[in-house]
Symmetry: C2
C-alpha cells in the first residue's frame, strides 16, 4: 500500500509541473472490427456503428429482457466508470494535478517561505528534477497540505470555485466541458435501462463529488475515490467533518475492487476504464457469473483529443489492452467509434 | 480510535456470553405530548396518533411541497437509520454477538485446542469474568477470527446461512422477524416520498448486507457499518476480495458522521437512532440548514419488547435523551406510540 500511495501520488503531482511540457505520444492498434450492425432506436447518437456500440447495446438488451436467462434484476444493475480518461480528458495531466498546483500557488501567498521550502518550491518553480527528488514524504505533504486542514464543506466550496474557473490549456474550455459526449450518452442509456451508475476513480473522492451530479448525473454517494482521513469535530456548537493530513485509502489498481467492496458491497455487472489502473476492476467485474460487460476507452485520436496508451506517463494502457481480446473486453477506438468527442455544454 | 475499537467490540463480544443472563432494565421518562393530530392518508398504520407521528408527517410534507421554502430536491432527500435497537431488536444482546459466539463454537470443532486457549475458551465457557479479562487484543482476535480469512462472497454465504437459522431467545422467531413494523412503514413512507434510505450502524457492514434488502428494502450499497480490511487477490484465475484480520473502520459514535462522509458525501436531512451511539450522527444531521428531522426510538415497552435506556449495557441512552428537547429531536415512546412492535412476516 505504501509503495502504491507513493506511485499514485507521484504521477498526480509530477504532472502538475509538466503541464506545458508533456508531449502527447501516439499509440494504439485498433481492434479488429466486424460489419456494423443496424441501430434501432438510437440512444447513442455519438457512437458510430461498429463492434463497440453493438457490444453495449447487445449487453443492455440481454440483461433487461425479462424471462431471458441473461435477465438481471434491477437492483443488481450496477455499472462502474473510471473518471480520468474514461469520462473526461486526463491529458496532458490529471486535472487534480492542476488543482494541487493552483492550491500551492494560492496558499503560497500566505506562506512567503514556501519559495525556498520543499516540497512547495518544486511546484512553484515547476521544476521536474526537484519534483522527482521529493520522495514519498514530500509528495504526501503536497497532497495533504492542499487537501486537508479544513472542513469537508469548506473543501467542497474550494473545489467548486476552482473548477468553475479552470480551463484546459489546449482546448481552452472548462474541464467540465472536456467530458466525453459518447460517455454521457452511455451513462444516460444505462440509467434509462435501470442501471445505477458509479464512478470508481483513483482521484480524490471529495475533488469529484462537488460537480459529478451536474456534469454526469452521478450523485456524490455514487462516487468512489481515494480518501484522506476525516474527523468529527465541533466548531463552536456546530458539528463538522475536518479533513486531516493523513492518507486513508488509495482507490487505484487493486484498490478499485476494494473500494467497490467497501462502498457498493456487491459485484457490479459492467465496468468502463481506459488504463492499466482499471485492470483489476475490469477483471473483478467481468469474472462474476452471468452477463458482464468490460469496456476500455482507447485514446487514438490525436486530432480531436489525444493519442496515447503504452508509453504514456498518465493513463498508461498496456496489459489491459493486450488481454482485452482473451477476456472479452470491448475496446473503443476513440477515433473510429466516436463521431463526437467532447460534450457541447 | 484504539480505545473506541476496544469499547465497541467489548460490548459486542461480552454480550455473547451473557445472552441468558442479562436482565432487562427499566428506564425512560416519556416525553411530554400534545394533543393528537388527525391522520390523513395514513401510511403509518402502526404509529399511534401523537407528537412523534405528527413530527414525521409534517417533516415529510414540508420537504416534498414544491414551491415551499422548505422544499428539498429529490437528490438531497437522504435519511439515515441506525440498525440495532432502531430497526431491529438489540436485546438481550446485539445479534452480531450471537453470531460471534456461534462462529467460535462452529470453528472450535476444527480447533480442539480452543477449549483451553483464550480468547476462545472464554466464549466457549460463556464465562463473564474471563471475557472481561481478555483485553483489546483478545477482543480483536475474537472478531477477526470469526469474520476474516475468507472471501467476501464466502462470508456473505456464512451470514446468510446463520441468519436463516438463528432465533431470538425470548421471542423464538428469526431475527429478521424481530424488526419493528412501524420502522418498516416509516422506511416505505420515506421512500414513497423520494427519500434514499441508508443504514448507518456500528455493526459490521458485511454482517448486514446479505439480508437488508429483503428485510428492509435497503440495498447493500446503502448500508454503512464497521469494516475490516480486505484485499484483492486471485484465487486461481478468479479475482476475489479476501477479508483480512485487521480492523479498518469503526462506524460508531463520532465514527458515524465520518462513515456518512465517506460513503454518502453529503449531509443527510433525517436521522433515526436509539442510543448515545447515535448522538453524533443526530447532531451532525440536524445541524444542517433547512428542515431536519432527528428521531430517537426510546425502548419503554418491557411487555412487548424491552424497556431500557440509561442503565443499559447495550443501547445506553442518556445524553441523547437529555438533550432531545433542546435540540428538537423527536422521541418515540415505543409503548405509547407504536400499536404494533414486530413485523408479522
Amino acid at each position: 500500500m505504501r509503495r502504491q500511495v507513493c506511485s499514485t501520488l507521484l504521477v498526480l503531482v509530477l504532472g502538475a509541473a509538466l503541464v506545458s511540457q508533456v508531449a502527447t505520444s501516439r499509440g494504439g492498434e485498433p481492434e479488429p472490427r466486424k460489419a456494423p450492425a443496424v441501430a434501432v432506436d438510437d440512444r447513442l447518437p455519438s457512437w458510430n456503428e461498429g463492434a463497440a456500440k453493438r457490444a453495449i447495446q447487445s449487453f443492455v438488451e440481454r440483461v433487461t429482457q425479462e424471462g431471458s436467462p441473461d435477465f438481471v434484476p434491477l437492483s443488481e444493475r450496477i455499472a462502474v466508470f473510471d473518471n480520468d480518461g474514461t469520462l473526461w480528458c486526463e491529458q496532458p495531466v490529471y486535472v487534480q494535478a492542476l488543482f494541487v498546483r493552483d492550491r500551492v500557488r494560492a496558499l503560497a501567498l500566505e506562506h512567503p517561505d514556501w519559495g525556498e521550502r520543499q516540497p512547495f518550491r518544486a511546484v512553484l518553480k515547476g521544476d521536474r528534477a526537484e519534483l522527482a527528488a521529493l520522495g514519498e514524504k514530500g509528495i504526501v505533504d503536497l497532497v495533504t497540505t492542499t487537501h486537508a486542514g479544513m472542513t469537508t464543506d469548506e473543501f467542497h466550496k474550494i473545489v467548486e470555485d476552482w473548477i468553475a474557473g479552470a480551463k484546459h490549456p489546449r482546448f481552452d474550455r472548462p474541464y467540465t466541458r472536456c467530458v466525453y459526449q459518447p460517455m454521457l450518452e452511455l451513462l444516460a442509456y444505462l440509467r434509462a435501462n435501470g442501471f445505477k451508475t458509479y464512478i470508481v476513480s483513483g482521484g480524490g473522492v471529495e475533488f469529484m463529488r462537488p460537480w459529478t451530479e451536474s456534469v454526469y448525473g452521478i450523485p456524490p454517494e455514487q462516487v468512489i475515490g481515494s480518501t484522506i482521513q476525516t474527523k468529527y469535530e465541533l466548531r463552536g456548537d456546530t458539528p463538522a467533518l475536518v479533513r486531516l493530513p493523513e492518507v486513508d485509502f488509495i482507490d487505484d489498481r487493486a484498490g478499485k475492487p476494494v473500494g467497490i467492496g467497501k462502498l457498493i458491497g456487491r459485484r457490479p455487472i459492467a465496468a468502463f476504464g481506459n488504463s492499466d489502473g482499471d485492470y483489476e476492476m475490469l477483471r473483478y467485474v467481468t469474472s462474476g457469473s452471468g452477463p458482464r460487460l468490460g469496456l476500455i476507452v482507447h485514446h487514438t485520436d490525436a486530432e480531436r483529443e489525444y493519442a496515447y496508451s503504452r508509453d504514456s506517463l498518465v493513463g498508461r494502457l498496456a496489459r489491459a489492452l493486450d488481454e482485452a481480446p482473451a477476456r472479452g473486453w470491448t475496446v473503443v477506438d476513440m477515433k473510429r467509434d466516436w463521431s463526437q468527442v467532447f460534450a457541447n455544454k
